[in-house]
Symmetry: C2
């Protein structure tokens, strides 16, 4: 066996962050990037420029690869067929990925597994939606079954007329719709596991994630004050889902904590924003772990290396070029990760991680570092009472 | 400022291991590699193939770079001139690097600084060498002033006739020679610091390194049982040397511990094998730190993330392709780093790192992992008394 080649479909920051661990493992990372400016284009060992729907580009990224994996869920069936024709394992498989691609398929499967779903229903008509609203307190969350991310494809509704456009689009062949109970959750949790084709599994500590405007803003590992039994239950649920859905690679089960229990929010079958903390806060980061899993290697140690690790996303910001941020972040133990993307309002352009013994201090250091990366060093007060 | 470009002369594993941190910092790493098969060729963001003596290749790697640095000491003066012509900072500078390139120049400077040297003398003739041997117990270490590494250019001698070839070569314009007292050391230590152009300095914990056949085999961080005062003295010595020699980037001061004190063995002005532990065992690894230093960024936190970190080199071995090792190393928390090099006897082809709370356990896990990467999983005894 010469250096194994892992093909990755999708050239965003998730593929980018696979590159460093691939290099250290002696693995060649070959990435199908959407454009030469994609986040992973500069870092990947080999690139093919093209879309996942471009058969020639897919052939070029697959030929000679040992395995193919994905950094997002939008993988056409033709890609799986092309991999199968070449005898190249594709992880997670089409069958598994279906549950991350389509929220109706996922909810049905969770129900069948006995996994804790919120109340939900498919929506075909205004009547479907109004009936659900009437039964669930007059407010609910309408979602497109496919294509949503980072708050897109999700809408809080109080009346079916608010969904005219989506219902009309669905009737004309657009994305199917489902409605979910608006869960009065205490907080959001994420349970991540990795699983190999042989079925070996490891579970990371359950983390707390905070969203702003539908986008992950902050993650605390482990989730502070989480009942150990509930943490074990969340890990067990994620392991069960990985096994039952035959997921290979990283799986993130996003959860709502509510009334001392959890309900499933979403599934992601890839490295996930809620796991970025592990790059700096666990023996084996999620990007190395994903590569290990899809290559059917022994999974790495998931032990945290510090009592607390806080990850703060850098979302948009006022800088033209993030690189200038590097000189401004003081040495506060913050690990900076930039994705090489142009800054646009609200766009995830990087993240910072801080580990420490004291949660409040660790949180404030991470927030400060993310703020500085985003907008520059805060002005220090010079009047009386200010810091020097 | 768009993504800063760091040019690196030399495409071995040290340049390779700079790539991951460069990606995360949003820094473009452009490497002059000796061949398309060089360890760094696959990982670097941009490569130029050529030798440091090739003016066209040097021009290609320098044009548009923000700073240029080195992963080895064999940098021709023309490279510094080419950088100066373009106004590109070169770190460490020619003046600083001279002390790492030439052991006579280094010894003279250490003497001038009052740094602890072993007894030493330049050697021009057989008489020079015999006189030194007579004065120092009849045995000494003869070295070429330039070009030695990993045990090359070093010879233990008991009589000048044993050095006929080197003395003749030196007389004909070959490398100058020096002889050093054979120090009866307890062990070898390494003190690493990083320094920015502005003069900011951080010191890593002093580590113990074990050599086999002149090649670093193992590093323990921090050095077990080291007197805290001696550790502070070693760090202070390394800081002084970095300041006095105006080193920018990583500096490793290799030391002999002898009679409760230290003497200087060698200097390396770049990331060093004795610092590989920090990739996995400190908040900021030496490769990120070197990039931070030469880019004049705030230096990163050097706090260890575990009580003990052990690094074990993978030297040569019996495998044809190291990649097959990945499937055999059990999850023992070992972090594996492969350099993408062909296996040759004794060649450094990778390293493993294990962190832990108990030194003996950590050591044995690191050694076991390095053994497995090198030669495959050890056969388990099946007879009575063996392990199952």
């Amino acid at each position: 066996m010469t250096a194994p080649i892992v093909a990755v479909i999708g050239g965003g920051q998730l593929a980018r962050m696979m590159t460093g661990p691939a290099t250290e493992l002696g693995v060649t990372l070959r990435v199908l990037v959407e454009s030469p400016d994609a986040a992973a284009a500069a870092s990947a060992h080999q690139i093919v420029v093209g879309m996942p729907g471009d058969a020639d580009a897919v052939a070029a990224v697959l030929d000679g690869a040992d395995v193919v994996t994905w950094e997002h869920e939008h993988i056409p069936a033709a890609v799986f067929e092309a991999a199968a024709q070449r005898g190249i394992p594709a992880f997670p498989s089409a069958e598994a990925l279906a549950f991350a691609q389509d929220k109706i398929v996922m909810r049905e499967r969770m129900d069948a597994l006995g996994a804790p779903n919120p109340a939900w229903a498919p929506v075909h008509t205004h009547d479907d939606l109004d009936a659900f609203l009437a039964a669930h307190g007059g407010v609910a969350v309408l979602k497109t079954a496919r294509g949503g991310y980072d708050g897109k494809g999700v809408r809080v509704v109080r009346s079916a007329v608010e969904a005219d456009d989506w219902i009309a689009a669905a009737a004309e062949g657009g994305p199917r719709l489902l409605v979910e109970q608006k869960v009065a959750f205490t907080r959001e949790l994420s349970a991540q596991v990795a699983r190999t084709p042989q079925g070996n599994v490891v579970a990371y500590p359950v983390v707390e994630s905070t969203q702003r405007d539908g986008i992950c803003a902050e993650v605390i590992a482990p989730a502070p004050g989480l009942d150990p039994l509930l943490a074990a239950a969340a890990q067990g649920l994620a392991i069960t889902i990985a096994m039952e859905l035959d997921v290979v690679g990283m799986l993130a089960v996003e959860l709502f904590e509510v009334d001392g229990s959890v309900v499933v929010n979403e599934l992601a079958m890839r490295p996930h924003n809620s796991g970025h903390w592990s790059m700096d806060g666990a023996v084996t980061g999620q990007f190395e772990q994903h590569l290990r899993a899809v290559l059917d290697l022994p999974l790495g140690d998931v032990t945290p290396t510090a009592p607390w690790t806080v990850m703060a996303n850098v979302l948009g910001g006022s800088r033209e070029h993030l690189a200038s941020a590097l000189g401004e972040v003081p040495d506060s133990g913050a690990k900076i990760h930039l994705y090489g993307k142009d800054v646009r309002p609200g766009r995830k352009v990087g993240h910072v991680t801080v580990a420490g013994d004291d949660l409040e201090h660790t949180l404030s250091r991470a927030r400060e570092a993310a703020d500085i990366v985003r907008d520059g060093a805060p002005r220090r007060a010079t009047a009386t009472g200010g810091e020097a």
